[in-house]
Amino acid sequence: MEVTSTWYLVLGALIFGIGSVGLMVRRNPLVMFMCIELMLNAVNLTFVTFARSLDDVAGQTVVFFVLVVAAAEVTVGLGIIVAILRRRPQATVDDVSLMKG
């Protein structure tokens, strides 16, 4: 059985779905963070797949940008989460709801 582009795309979609459901369902900030990473990488996988099948290097280029942004985002996000957890251990995301209208 040959592994075609479709397999990669389906895998990407599955990982993205897991990530997004996890983001909405879980309360632990670290887990939610990992879900976001899952989603980002699912998209990366899709980009690379298309870049190969369409023979267009632009898709791979975008992946680099996404990686860079994700790295930056992780730095900031982890900083915030560590700050919150240090102040209130066991805190869930729902405890941080100052934006409530």
Partner: protein, 660 residues
């Protein structure tokens, strides 16, 4: 030489700026001399321009100078530009000429005042504004000067602002003038709407093509403005109160120059008036009515300056009558001669007030001619001039106005004639009360010596006349209550110059042969065919002149009979002393229905509708916000769900487009 026009207003402006910066340091009397020099320099500049204009051919005496573009807005282009023609130059000549004499006089009059330099600062600003008004090349520059003189008038009326009455009088003048300014502004809007320009030269060129209704409306709105500035019915009420200001101010602003601005404006727009014959009638009737009305009030005033104030209103009425009759030259002629003799009378009264130690009530004067010979002599010249006794200046100009009034309508002429009679009567009354008869101030001095308790008994008298002018300086208080004395030379020299002018001023326009009508010849290019011509025969003219002269003499004789010989009991009804209760009526109207109306506007319109709209929209936003805020839960997963739903929605939209 015509290029020097800009110097005419620039010099007083420079004086103003210098006094703003260094006024206090210059102090007395240097600040006064600086201001006087600037206005005198402006007079010299005007003379140079005058010579330059004379060089030109009779019909080509129009010159415009554009300094800079002021406001280019779409189709509206307004420049700071000057229009020099015989009319504006005549005005500029007498404004600067008489202005410098009065500046000189004020150095003596304001002696010892704490805010000496401030006074001259205002005077110079006034001279600048007045010259902008006169020389402006379009309605807006004129309006700029118009507002400037109004503001200076306000500053100077309430110059002694610590006195309640002066502060109130200043406010009254300012507010009343606003009503007139409204008319001026509406006229400007209409002019721009009708011809697309505010320049006088464009207006003159297009006036003939205007619809009569448009021209009439513009002219009437300008009349509202002119009536405010020139104290005509029904907006005259501020001028008598304006006498609270220092006397040089009354002479300069409220007799000789500023109040003639309205007449000048009417003369300036003569081509427009020619297109609006109905407006001419209104102007003539307003003028005649004002002349008679103010003259009746002047008969019963006891304050030396109030008499002159009402007299000024009356004489301005004459000028409007002349304008309404199409006799623009006569109007300008009377403006000039009136400036001579009314400035003289005001300065004379100032000299009397100064000599009497700030006493203004004529009932406490009398027999001053021996103590103040120069003031008395010059005042008597002014009296004869305003009463219309030949050959004094006033006779010639008033006679010419009456001639054209006769031409317009015998009724207007009759009103003018009765006014002339009253003028001669009340001026005689004033001269007799001040300079002849018993020295009543001696009785006052006796009273004063009895003790301070007597002071209270005199207060009602002081209250019924305008409050005595308090200089607030120790120099006068120091020898207060002493004998009246003649004023220093710096004050009587201007009096003498003005007296000479009041005698010979008539020579500007003698009606005997056309060669002698210098002023008419000079002004002819400005008015051209719009000038009314008298069709009365020479014999008719002589008859009218003789009737006018006899009327004046009868008025003088009556005045002597009543106040000098005391053969007839004086008729001074309370209704006249109170000015026909016009002020009281205005006050009652504004305080009663007026206040109620404004209350209605504030509580009804403003509080309910205007505030309602503002508060209502705020309330609406608040209500919507309180519903929508529930969406903001603050839970991250809710936001994530929102993003996911959005993404799915977008995806669905793209897919549906791809499928269809």
């Amino acid at each position: 030489m015509l290029d020097l026009v800009w110097l005419i207003p620039a010099l007083p402006l420079a004086g103003f700026l210098l006094l703003v910066l260094f006024g206090r340091r210059l102090g007395e009397p240097l600040a006064g001399w600086l201001a006087t020099l600037m206005v005198a320099g402006s007079f010299v500049a005007t003379l140079i321009v005058y010579v330059g204009l004379l060089d030109r051919h009779h019909d080509e005496r129009v010159f415009t100078q554009t300094l800079f573009q002021w406001m280019p807005v779409g189709n509206l282009g307004v420049d700071i530009a000057f229009l020099v023609d015989p009319l504006s130059l005549t005005m500029a000549l007498f404004v600067t000429g008489i202005g410098s004499l009065i500046h000189l006089y004020a150095i003596g009059y304001m002696h010892g005042d704490e805010r000496f330099s401030k006074f001259f600062l205002y005077l110079n600003l006034f001279a600048f504004s007045m010259l902008m008004l006169v020389l402006g090349d379009n309605l807006l520059v004129t309006f700029l000067g118009w507002e400037g003189v109004g503001a200076c008038s306000y500053f100077l009326i309430s110059f002694w602002f610590t006195r309640e009455s002066a502060a109130v009088a200043g406010k009254k003048a300012f507010v009343t003038n606003r009503v007139g300014d409204w008319g001026f502004m509406v006229a400007m809007f209409l002019t721009f709407a009708a011809i697309g320009s505010l320049d006088y030269l464009d207006l003159f060129a297009e006036a003939e093509g205007l619809a009569e209704s448009t021209a009439t409306f513009i002219a009437l709105m300008l009349l509202v403005g002119a009536a405010g500035k020139s104290a005509q019915l029904p907006l005259y009420v501020w001028l008598p109160d304006a006498m609270e200001g220092p006397t040089p101010v009354s002479a300069l602003i409220h007799a000789a120059t500023m109040v003639t601005a309205g007449v000048y404006l009417m003369c300036r727009v003569n081509p427009l008036l020619a297109a609006a014959p109905d407006a001419m009638w209104v102007i003539a009737i307003v003028g005649a009515a004002t002349a008679l009305f103010a003259a009746t009030i002047a008969v019963a005033q006891n304050d030396i300056k109030k008499v002159l104030a009402y007299s000024t209103i009356s004489q301005l009425g004459y000028m409007f009558l002349a304008v309404g009759s199409g006799a623009y030259v006569a109007a300008v002629f009377h403006m000039v001669t009136h400036a001579f003799f009314k400035a003289l009378l005001f300065l004379g009264s100032g000299s009397v007030i100064h000599g009497m130690h700030d006493e203004q009530d004529m009932r406490r004067m009398g027999a001053l001619r021996k103590l103040m010979p120069i003031t008395a002599g010059t005042f008597i010249v002014g009296w004869l001039a305003i009463a219309g006794v030949p050959p004094f200046a006033g006779f010639w100009s008033k006679d010419e106005i009456l001639l054209y009034a006769w031409e317009k309508s015998p009724v207007l002429w009759a009103v003018g004639l009765v006014t002339a009679l009253l003028t001669a009567y009340y001026m005689t009354r004033q001269v007799v009360m001040v300079f002849f008869g018993r020295p009543r101030w001696e009785e006052e001095a006796e009273h004063a010596r009895v003790g301070p308790a007597e002071e209270h008994a005199q207060e009602p008298v002081a209250a019924s006349g305008a409050a005595a002018e308090l200089h607030g300086d120790a120099a006068h208080g120091g020898h207060g209550g002493g004998r009246p004395h003649e004023s220093p030379p710096i004050m009587w020299i201007p009096l003498v110059v003005l007296a000479v002018l009041s005698v010979v001023g008539g020579a500007l326009n003698l009606p005997f042969t056309s060669d002698l009508m210098v002023l008419e010849h000079w002004l002819e290019p400005v008015f051209g065919e719009h000038l009314a011509h008298a069709h009365v025969s020479t014999a008719g003219k002589w008859t009218l002149a003789i009737i006018a002269t006899v009327t004046s003499l009868v008025g003088i004789a009556l005045g002597c009979l009543v106040y000098e010989r005391r053969k007839v009991k004086a008729v001074e009804p309370k209704v006249l002393e109170q000015g026909w209760y016009v002020d009281a009526t205005y006050a009652a109207a504004v305080d009663g229905p007026g206040r109620a109306g404004f209350d209605l506007v504030t509580t009804g319109l403003d509080a309910k509708i205007v505030d309602g709209a503002v508060n209502g929209s705020a309330g609406l936003v608040r209500m919507i916000g309180s519903r929508i805020r529930r969406l903001e839960t603050g839970f991250v997963r809710n936001y994530a769900l929102g993003v996911a739903i959005g993404a799915v929605g977008l995806l669905g939209w793209f897919v549906s487009r791809a499928v269809v």
